[in-house]
Subunit: 248 residues, 2 copies
């Protein structure tokens, strides 16, 4: 954190240096990113990202949207960028990035979003994406469940691969049912101390006990929680770090 | 640039790795930043910035404002952050960061801007700051001239220390007169090739010949212009790089 001298901010473990939360998903058919936070350009350069075929937003807080304009590099060839977001988040994106949504800039290479309001499951390539509305303080934001056909012979038998709940203060039973038994649960776990708009470690572990994923990864971690705290967590429970790659 | 394999993007010279343009000014009385681009947090952490007493904006393009919310760390102690911008830029800031300007967030530690519309010279501590309206394509944006008393005995005899023109496609004669003979000219020089909204190297050199500063520093440089091009520039003309510090 800016201007902080705590143990985590001065840590020599590079995994304790954290940029804003986001995930990038590559599939055989297409690649997409969930959220373009303020660090999106830095992250895209670090990971040498060459293709983003669509962007999905969880919500419109600054740490999740302010890198939006840097999507222009990935939209250049096609001339537009498919944007998936709830109606409320789309309204905020249209307000903040008015120049892009209104197409005010005539120069080629500028970002032209193609809005898709998320009001139920949708598909990107062969991935089925189910929005997971969860409370984030007083607001409702979207997590997402990513599922794919178990194999070529039974493409309709969907396997729950990843549930991404980056920002939440609770996970309602209906959402737990939807993601129950998911392979990978990526979940908000800000710190040990409770917080009004984020789950803390204890609350995130409780959600994991209800969901019963194969593996749990904590994300959206504050500087109060060092990477080294992972050793105190239950088995198959990890603290995610910048640049972490998972192969499914 | 994202997804680019050109010589500059693959350069081993760390000065060829460039974040969004911005300057930070420390004076005996106070410290302030000009623009909070998308990389503001990264830059503040890199330079271990501990105090920002005010922020001044040149204009509201994304590469100059999207790090605004990270000012919260510097506003926490006082509870507010003085924001200096033209009326048009302030309107854009109020639209994009509506939650902050409307004070919607009741939690302590969230950014509360204190807007100061710039319509003429103003002072921060003992520094006099004169807005320099310059064309940036079809829009008009503010450069700024920073002057201070020559010495304690004649505080009214202002010395022109720095003229900052980060984004401009031309510099009108009236602005050249205002900044004539400035100690340091920091000026937009995007690349060799002409561009509709930025000066190129030849045009920036022409402005420098008219202004006659002690030293000229190019900024807002694109990946078409390597740091190594500095050797081909006239004397006292430099290509600025991230982290460059000037003592005046």
């Amino acid at each position: 954190m800016i201007g902080c001298d705590c143990d985590v901010c001065r840590s020599s473990d590079p995994r304790d240096k954290r940029l804003r939360s986001s995930i990038y998903i590559q599939t055989p058919e297409c690649s997409f990113v969930v959220d373009t936070g303020t660090d999106f350009r830095t992250q895209a350069l670090r990971e040498n990202i060459r293709h983003v075929n669509a962007v999905i937003f969880t919500h419109s807080h600054t740490d999740h949207i302010m890198g939006f304009d840097d999507l222009r590099r990935f939209a250049y060839a096609r001339g537009y960028m498919p944007v998936y977001a709830s109606a409320e988040t789309m309204r905020d994106l249209e307000r903040v990035f008015a120049f892009a949504f209104k197409g005010l800039n005539p120069f080629p290479g500028y970002l032209k979003p193609e809005p898709h309001v998320v009001d139920g499951p949708f598909e990107l390539g062969s991935t089925t994406i189910i929005p997971l509305p969860v409370p984030h303080g007083n607001t409702l934001v979207n997590g997402y469940l990513f599922s794919r056909g178990r194999n070529r012979d039974s493409p309709r038998a969907l396997e729950k691969l990843v549930a991404y709940l980056s920002d939440c203060s609770a996970v309602p039973d209906a959402i737990v049912d939807l993601i129950s038994g998911v392979k990978i649960l990526i979940i908000d776990a800000l710190r040990e101390k409770p917080h009004p708009t984020h789950l803390n470690v204890e609350q995130a572990l409780e959600v994991a006990r209800r969901v019963r994923p194969n593996q749990t990864y904590f994300t959206h971690i504050a500087h109060e929680l060092p990477q080294s705290a992972e050793s105190r967590l239950p088995s198959r429970t990890h603290i995610a770090h910048d640049g972490l790659k998972l192969n499914l």
